[in-house]
Amino acid sequence: MTKDHDIWENFKAGDKSALSYVYFQHFNSMFQYGIKFKDDPEFVRDCIQDVFLKLIQAGDKLGSTENIRFYLFKALKNAIYKELDKSKKLEFVEFDTLKFEAPFAFKEELQEKDHPTDRELALSKALNELSDRQREIIYLRFECTMEYGQICDLMGLKSDSARKLLFRAITSLREIIDDRLKHPILLLIQFSRKHVL
């Protein structure tokens, strides 16, 4: 992780190749994360711009970090929250309950199916019943393979909450998937066909 530390210091010092590295290394993941909160590419792009400009403006006052991605995710989430808070005058949005709108890939695939099986419907229902918090934890843990400590920090949760919430989500799914009369491989094949990482 010291590599991130050094690059960040260089970035603060005005090394343009460090800026380039940080930006192009993390733009995609920032975008994919941001768009889960609001499915509006222009909006997410503006937030990312905001993040970088503010980081640059902070200059020397910027802290150090051992994990640039985490730092950027946090800054992005802040930026998104501020923007949404501005525009939603009626609804008060709390930082740690920002709506994680994006649907699971499975849900979208299911919509295209004409005759979904009972188990598929049950699975879809279980996924729907997950809270926004659980869905964000799932994204950070499975797609971003982020450590629990960072997940909790990012989401304003107490130390073991993320793990517990994830465990509950896993358990609810497991009950449905485990309840199998057919061969276990079948379910696997149906899912993995259309996956996009």
Binding site: Q49, R163, L173, V196
Partner: protein, 403 residues
């Protein structure tokens, strides 16, 4: 494979980072396959865990709607401004006033336009007719010459092909006739360099004593530029349109990659060093003795010798060594004093005159910071080699130390 996995439950597997990376990215495929085979009792749980990881997947959003590179340009400009000025630059003001002033040229479209056909004859004629003055210039398709004052100028061509930003504080709008073959030219004499952002997003670092000719906007199937001298290219990835760097003898074709091209006139060589991606080299003459194409992979260097028409490829070269000039560093490893003087001559625009018996073939190694004055740089060289020197205007007189 860690023994801990033998005692894992479904939930344990599902939350394990290595397991997740196997399911989602195929990492450690063999290890996990072996593990399942050796522990058949865990098979059911592993497949359940796998199904859960798959169920938790999100679709990746299409990035094409957002111009990642265009945003970077804005951010980079602000970064430069912020680190250059003593006072903090207001973000809002920056967004509003990105250009200090705008110069609009109303160009009569009938002025001479560089016209390029498929063969390169016209190109070589035009390149040699440009006088070797001391000024760095941008020559527009209409023939207008714009002097570039900075020692290291910065040019940015916008995607539409109708604006050029010069040194980040002036913008030229070019409204000439839309000739698809209209080419712009950047000429940098010895002692000056230029960074150019082409309309397709490709970045070019043009070294001292070089010229590059390119269209203001790339149309047509391929993106072709002509180079004389040395340049480093960071080609913007476009799988549908190949980027071709054409020199007197050789074409370098790429799709999206970083490499350095250097014409070594005194030794009659052309050198291409690949940083990342892949490039294809092909000889540029009509009577090509080289029928095949040569592909390079990263960290390879190809040297084309014009005298004997041979190409040699060296692998695992120290890339940094070849591109350190971009950072204003000149590194040399067991190079002859003569070569070092040639490079310094190019960079500082001075002439070296040897008096007495200087061992020009003597090999030296070192790293020079070209941001230093010539005086300081020569002191470093004089430490490494048995020479004394005297700078007199544009000439450097060198003598052997033993005298």
């Amino acid at each position: 494979m860690d023994k801990k996995y033998k005692k894992y439950s479904v939930a344990d597997f599902t939350q394990d980072i290595h397991f997740i990376n196997w399911v989602n990215k195929g990492a450690g495929q063999k290890e996990w396959e072996n593990f399942v085979r050796e522990n058949p009792g865990l098979k059911k749980d592993i497949y359940t865990a796998r199904d859960i990881v798959i169920a938790f997947r999100y679709r990746a959003n299409d990035l094409q709607q957002v111009d990642e590179y265009e945003l970077y340009q804005k951010i980079e400009s602000y970064y430069t401004l912020h680190h250059r000025s003593k006072r903090p630059v207001s973000v809002r003001k920056f967004i509003q006033y990105a250009a200090v002033f705008v110069v609009i040229l109303a160009i009569g479209a009938t002025l001479s336009i560089f016209y390029f056909s498929e063969n390169n004859e016209n190109y070589t004629e035009i390149a040699s007719s440009t006088s070797t003055s001391d000024e760095a210039k941008l020559i527009l398709p209409g023939g207008e010459e714009i002097l570039l004052k900075e020692k290291q100028s910065d040019l940015q061509f916008n995607a539409a092909g109708n604006q050029i930003k010069i040194d980040r504080d002036s913008i030229i709008s070019y409204n000439g006739k839309k000739d698809p073959n209209a080419m712009a030219q950047v000429v940098v004499p010895y002692g000056k360099r230029s960074n150019i952002l082409l309309s397709d997003g490709t970045k070019v670092w043009l070294n001292a004593g070089s010229k590059i000719i390119f269209p203001q906007k790339f149309t047509g199937k391929n993106r072709k530029v002509f180079l004389k001298g040395e340049a480093y290219f960071d080609v913007f990835k476009n799988n549908k349109s190949a980027f071709i760097v054409s020199t007197d003898n050789m074409n370098v074709t790429v799709h999206g990659t970083e490499f350095n091209v250097r014409e070594n006139e005194p030794d009659h060589e052309l050198e291409v060093v690949l940083v990342n991606g892949a490039v294809c080299l092909k000889e540029n003459s009509k009577m090509s003795l080289l029928n095949k194409e040569i592909r390079l992979i990263p960290n390879q260097k190809a040297v084309f010798n014009k005298v004997n028409n041979k190409i040699s490829v060296e692998s695992n070269v120290d890339v940094a060594y070849y591109i350190s000039w971009r950072e204003g560093l000149l590194e040399f490893k067991r190079e002859s004093i003569l070569t070092v003087f040639r490079r310094l001559s190019q960079f500082y625009n001075v002439r070296f005159v040897t008096e007495g018996s200087v061992e020009l073939n003597r090999k030296i190694s070192g790293k020079l910071d070209l941001k230093d004055s010539l005086e300081d740089v020569m002191k470093v060289v004089a430490d490494a080699a048995p020479i004394t020197f005297r700078i007199d205007g544009e000439k450097v007189f060198v003598n052997s130390k033993i005298n």
